[in-house]
């Protein structure tokens, strides 16, 4: 055996636990779910092949289309707002503030709080009678709505709640901001750029890799949103917060339709891949990596 082959086998032996885990716990279930998506499968009896029936039925399922609409709404509003909020907070935390370290920690705390606890907390905040939010609005003479009880306000409520969880992106933006060379600001000032122009022409271009990362991870997470709606609204009122994965879960584990749920999962997977590819393709035009010409 050649030394190269030996080295390769040694390497293979050391990474074999990961490879086997990857194959057994990721690739195998993934392929199995692809197969299930072409079957009628209730988890209790053997799957029965039905071809594309599940995919065709999805196009006629009004609840599915409703879930798609709800999810797109959540993605379109929560992701850009989340990135913007994270950037603004990081920008402020990057200034020479007193208690800066403490403030950074405070903004990160919600990330380490379990989502179930966060959901309960926000149910209280959104309480229309004695919740914090409506009480604050009342101070300025506004009668707050029934945040979670109204089909009009339920989705915006969950978008607002999502902003509470931007701590992770804030950290990434902070790191990116601290990486912006001081010399660029000095050069901009010499050229007469005011603060706004410095942010627009120096800061933002320099943190575009962080923006891309936050957008990407935010999009993937938003497409899969589940726990907040599951705990806070159960998908209601009148299915206004029944998101994609919530409906998928119900079909798979409540209504004995795992085949149908698998087809939903694969469509979601495809959608996420498409969005990710589009984002990457367009990133060449707007993301600046240091050192590029």
């Amino acid at each position: 055996m050649t030394p190269g082959a030996k080295r390769f086998l040694t390497m293979l032996a050391f990474i074999s636990p990961w490879i086997l885990g990857f194959l057994g716990f990721f690739v195998y279930p993934l392929l199995l779910s692809l197969y299930y998506s072409f079957t009628e499968y209730n988890l209790l009896q053997p799957p029965k092949f039905v071809g594309l029936t599940n995919y065709v039925n999805l196009t006629e399922d009004s609840h599915y289309l409703n879930a798609v609409g709800n999810t797109l709404y959540f993605v379109v509003f929560s992701v850009p707002l989340g990135v913007l909020t994270a950037f603004i907070i990081a920008f402020l935390l990057n200034q020479q503030l007193r208690l800066r370290v403490l403030l950074r920690m405070i903004f990160y705390i919600p990330i380490v709080v379990p989502i179930s606890a966060t959901a309960i907390l926000w149910m209280w905040i959104f309480n229309s009678n004695w919740g914090l939010l409506n009480n604050l609005l009342a101070l300025i003479g506004i009668q707050g709505p029934s945040w979670l009880g109204s089909p009009t306000w339920s989705k915006p409520s969950l978008v607002i709640m999502q902003l509470w969880l931007v701590g992770g992106s804030v950290l990434i933006f902070l790191a990116a901001l601290q990486d912006v060379p001081r010399a660029l600001y000095d050069a901009a000032m010499v050229d007469g750029a005011n603060a706004v122009r410095r942010v627009w022409h120096v800061t933002i271009p320099m943190v575009t890799p962080a923006i891309l990362f936050s957008l990407l991870t935010g999009l993937i997470a938003a497409f899969q949103t589940f726990a907040n709606a599951w705990i806070m609204t159960g998908g209601g009122p009148i299915r206004s917060t029944e998101f994609y994965v919530l409906y998928l879960y119900e079909n798979g584990f409540r209504f004995f339709r795992m085949g149908y749920a698998s087809s939903m999962a694969w469509i979601l997977f495809g959608a996420v891949v498409v969005v990710t590819v589009i984002l990457f393709r367009t990133s060449a035009r707007w993301v600046y990596y240091g050192g590029e010409g």
Binding site: S16, L44, Q45, S128, S146, G149, P237, F255
Partner: protein, 451 residues
């Protein structure tokens, strides 16, 4: 020489590691055979001394169930029970365990049909017939409906079961409004009149006191079935009846209560009540009439303001026949196909029918099983005010129905509940919505019957 030893040692290490990991991973990844329909082998003739372990999953009542299991083991020292409170996700958990080839021996769900219809349960008719412990006459006949599917029995009512539908009234509000408690509403027009007298709306149109919370009747699809005198599912002909005039009328009745003050206003009012379903402790004093099950009197006695009093009566008959509709819900224990100790599992199931077991569960967690002998053994006057309605209702009700033996019960429940809300908000036409629901459930039923 030393180098050679090191080389050998490393090679051996790599070989052993590689092989070990491969074998372990292959063993872990090998799919355990999921039990199939009809795979109901029993382990008869086991030596009595053989130690047997039984997994038993149930919805609620942790400590009471554990105590009941311990009592069973006291009588059967060779059987060790492993009880587990699975809560609201018990079905999800059971399905996943079954698919993984490792189901519990016994589960306690609302009804048997969804699992029985899909071949996941052991039929127990033969066991019942040969049992000297189980007396079917001792069960409420309506409770036994929950164990049926396709002409066979697949479990026994267990742990909790009285009545799950009664009209509760806040007596303080009723007396303030000058309503006569000796002339309770007997139809939905009268119920509207009562709701109107009880409700309080402020100048901005906000609900301060809700006259009648109609949504409680929708707790389960079976509730409207018994109120309207039309079963939503016929377990003998395997037909759904959601596309009937009775259910269209049920939705119209429901909507008429939404329309009294507006669906959004009711939603706002409810959302303000600590996010809990009515009657939550905070809402108990602000809702005139609502519906609830046998758990409601105790919940109100423990959580509502002390000065409040509540009365309970039958929900009006929507069929106009002047009957007293009563929905008798229960929990149902069943043996899963794939259990390796079916006989022992049956022994436990059998034991749940005894007063001794039910007394232990009741003493520890307060769960009341609706067997006739056990109810008779309770001193109802010493229990929560109003609870006696839920026991006497079983015999005094003139239309007492149990849970439909519907294999798609969970889907029917979710979809009908959502439809009722959509109709209440005016976003869906009742007839159209019911037609879609009927078709959807019929399609799913065909899959069950085909399999």
């Amino acid at each position: 020489m030393r180098t050679q030893e090191q080389r050998l040692s490393r090679r051996t290490f790599l070989k052993v590691t590689g092989m070990g990991v491969t074998i372990a991973a292959a063993a872990a990844c090998a799919p355990a055979a999921a039990p199939q329909a009809g795979d109901d082998e029993t382990v008869s003739g086991q030596p009595a001394a053989e130690q047997i372990d039984l997994d038993y999953w149930y919805i609620w009542g942790g400590e009471g169930q554990v105590a009941g299991c311990d009592l069973f083991t006291e009588h059967n020292p060779h059987i060790t029970m492993h009880p587990l409170t699975a809560g609201g996700v018990i079905l999800d958990k059971t399905l996943a365990a079954f698919a993984a080839g490792d189901p519990p021996d016994l589960v306690d769900l609302i009804l048997c049909a969804p699992l029985a219809g899909r071949g996941a349960l052991i039929a127990v008719d033969d066991y019942i017939e040969s049992s000297s412990v189980v007396d079917l006459e001792n069960y409420q006949s309506a409770h036994l409906e929950a164990v049926n599917w396709a002409g066979e029995r697949w479990g026994l009512p267990a742990n909790e079961g009285l009545g799950w539908l009664g009209l509760a009234r806040n007596r303080n509000l009723v007396q303030e409004a000058g309503l006569d408690e000796d002339a309770l509403p007997t139809d939905f027009d009268e119920l509207h009149a009562w709701a109107g007298a009880l409700e309080e709306i402020d100048d901005d149109g906000n609900v301060q006191v809700l006259g009648m919370d109609i949504r409680g009747i929708l707790t389960y699809p079976d509730c409207w079935s018994v109120v309207m005198g039309k079963r939503y599912f016929d377990g003998e002909t395997f037909e759904y009846n959601f596309d009937s005039d009775e259910f269209a009328e049920a939705l119209q009745i429901s909507k008429s209560f939404y329309d009294r003050v507006g669906a959004e206003k009711i939603a706002e009012f409810k959302a303000a009540q600590e996010g809990q379903p009515i009657p939550s402790p905070s809402a108990a004093g602000k809702v005139g009439l609502f519906t609830g099950g046998s758990w409601t009197p105790g919940s109100l006695a423990l959580n509502a303001r002390e000065d409040l009093e509540f009365g309970f009566s039958f929900v009006p008959d929507g069929a106009g026949e002047g009957k007293s509709p009563f929905f008798a819900g229960t929990h149902t224990a069943m043996i899963l196909n794939g259990s390796e100790n079916v006989d022992a599992a049956w022994q436990f199931l059998e034991f749940t029918s005894t007063d001794e077991y039910n007394r232990r569960v009741y003493d520890v967690s307060g769960f009341i099983m609706g067997t006739k002998s056990f109810i008779e053994s309770l001193d109802m006057s010493s229990l929560y005010p109003g609870l006696d309605f839920y026991t006497s209702g079983l015999s005094e009700g003139t239309r007492v129905w149990g849970i439909a033996s519907d294999p798609n019960w969970y889907l029917a429940w979710d979809e009908f509940l959502a439809l009722e809300e959509e109709v209440g908000f005016g976003t869906t036409d009742p007839g159209e919505g019911l037609q879609i629901l009927q078709e959807k459930l019929t399609t799913e039923l065909a899959k069950v019957l085909d399999a």
